[in-house]
């Protein structure tokens, strides 16, 4: 196992790097996009409410693979996208729907009086959101957002379907080249765990603390 890792360290490390890069880009992108859609859902405007709702429901109910393949084989005919780009875009859109739901739940759990108070103090709706509600909402949703990030890292293995150079893709390539169907996957599994396990334990720890702090 160790010799396999040593002799193909380059592939594993580059796969690890691409997985991290894709996850970080998708996290940033889906945080922005998800927050935008969450705001569109709560803003007092029927039209944007409906648009956001439709977007979220559609994206949440379709497999990530279908979204990613769509970008890879359909959208790429118009704009040239390589596998990494198509996979990361698919990942961003898919995750954004879940983040939108999480952020909206956070906004809704902020006491209604806060928004009313801010409005009656002369702040506009946007200002009240920006300075009063959103900061509190984000604090509340840190643990669920962390769990979304863990899912995102795991889901980034979708890049393997579109030659996105990530960990899973490297494992497939290596297993095809060496005809070893065990070693590469064990190593890649450990590398995924190095990314996700600490995060997962940290989120459990945070959840416990926040729950105690709140009580």
């Amino acid at each position: 196992m160790w010799t396999l890792f040593q002799s193909h360290a380059n592939e594993f490390i580059s796969g690890f790097g691409w997985t991290i890069l894709s996850s970080i880009i998708a996290l940033a992108g889906s945080l922005v996009l998800g927050t935008v859609f969450a705001l569109m859902e709560v803003v007092p405007n029927r039209l944007t409410n409906i648009i956001a709702k439709i977007y979220i429901e559609i994206v949440r109910n379709i497999p990530l693979l279908v979204i990613t393949m769509f970008f890879y084989v359909v959208v790429a005919r118009v704009w040239h996208l390589n596998g990494f780009a198509a996979g990361t875009i698919g990942l961003t859109l898919y995750t954004s729907a879940f983040i939108a739901e999480t952020v909206r739940a956070g906004i809704n759990s902020v006491d209604k009086g806060q928004l009313e108070g801010a409005l009656s103090n002369g702040l506009s709706w946007w200002e009240s959101m920006r300075y009063v509600v959103l900061p509190q909402a984000f604090r509340l949703v840190i643990p669920p957002l962390g769990n979304q990030f863990i899912s995102l890292i795991k889901n980034s293995s979708i890049l393997a379907f579109v030659a996105g150079m990530d960990l899973m893709y490297q494992a497939n390539m290596l297993s095809q080249a060496t005809f070893d169907t065990f070693g590469p996957y064990i190593i890649v599994g450990i590398l995924y765990l190095i990314l996700t396990m600490p995060l997962s334990y940290y989120m459990q720890y945070l959840e416990k603390h926040l729950a105690q702090g709140g009580a």
């Binding site: 429901e57 559609i58 949440r60 109910n61 379709i62 497999p63 990530l64 693979l65 279908v66 393949m69 769509f70 084989v73 359909v74 863990i150 795991k154 889901n155 980034s156 293995s157 979708i158 393997a160 379907f161 899973m168 494992a171 297993s175 169907t181 065990f182 996957y185 890649v188 599994g189 995924y192 765990l193 996700t196 396990m197 997962s200 334990y201």
Partner: protein
């Protein structure tokens, strides 16, 4: 327009629907199995039965934190190495069950933890044993609260069966790919159809879920 009608010919639709049936079969069996196994694992972890619960907890955490795709590869290409041979369908069902059981175990454990502590203490001081308390007091309340996260986990499971295209499970995504590989002009109609089929299936499941949720609350 002509191409659209050709893409949605009865021959193609029937081919896709047969795949949708495979998706549903694998999903239903995996949902049933992982609900039972996941509940057991979650209860074992909650009960804090010394080392036993700790070991179960580690395994659950490891599986939860691995990509499902990796687990699918493992069951299909790794397990035969120790003499366990399964067909594609069986392999997928086993892989899905392993992964989803771990996810559900966590939902069940935190569901039980969310029941107010006083209930547990009250029941125990009234002379009920721990298993009785669990069965009559904690679980009924916990499962009521767990319906929304469980349902969204089931929806994830249905969507994730598409990952088994990589081991050539003839489910609906795989069949759509087969069609547009043979008729490139059918690519866009096939993606629209896939989106529609998954949406209808999953939306139905989530609506059923929220119906039960409301009925339980009432």
């Amino acid at each position: 327009m002509q191409e659209l009608i050709q893409a949605y010919s009865w021959i193609n639709l029937r081919f896709l629907l047969m795949g949708l049936w495979v998706t549903i079969e694998v999903s239903v069996i995996s949902i049933g199995l992982s609900f039972v196994i996941g509940s057991l694992l979650g209860i074992i972890r909650y009960m804090k039965l010394g080392w036993f619960s700790k070991i179960v907890g580690f395994i659950v955490d490891v599986i939860r934190n691995l990509p499902l795709l990796l687990i699918i590869f493992f069951t299909y290409f790794g397990l035969p190495k120790i003499g366990i041979h399964m067909g594609v369908m069986m392999s997928t069902t086993v892989a899905m069950t392993i992964f989803e059981s771990a996810m559900i175990a966590e939902i069940v454990r935190s569901g039980i933890l969310a029941v107010p502590k006083g209930q547990l203490e009250g029941a125990l001081s009234n002379g009920l044993t721990m298993p009785e308390t669990l069965w009559h007091i904690l679980l009924p309340q916990a499962y009521k609260k767990m319906i929304p996260p469980l349902v969204s986990q089931f929806v994830s499971l249905i969507k994730d069966t598409s990952l088994a295209t990589i081991i050539m499970l003839p489910e609906v995504t795989f069949r759509a790919q087969t069609i547009y590989a043979q008729k490139p002009q059918a690519i866009i109609p096939m993606f629209i159809m896939l989106a529609l089929l998954y949406f209808v299936l999953n939306f139905t499941v989530s609506q059923l879920g929220s119906y039960f949720d409301r009925r339980m609350e009432a």
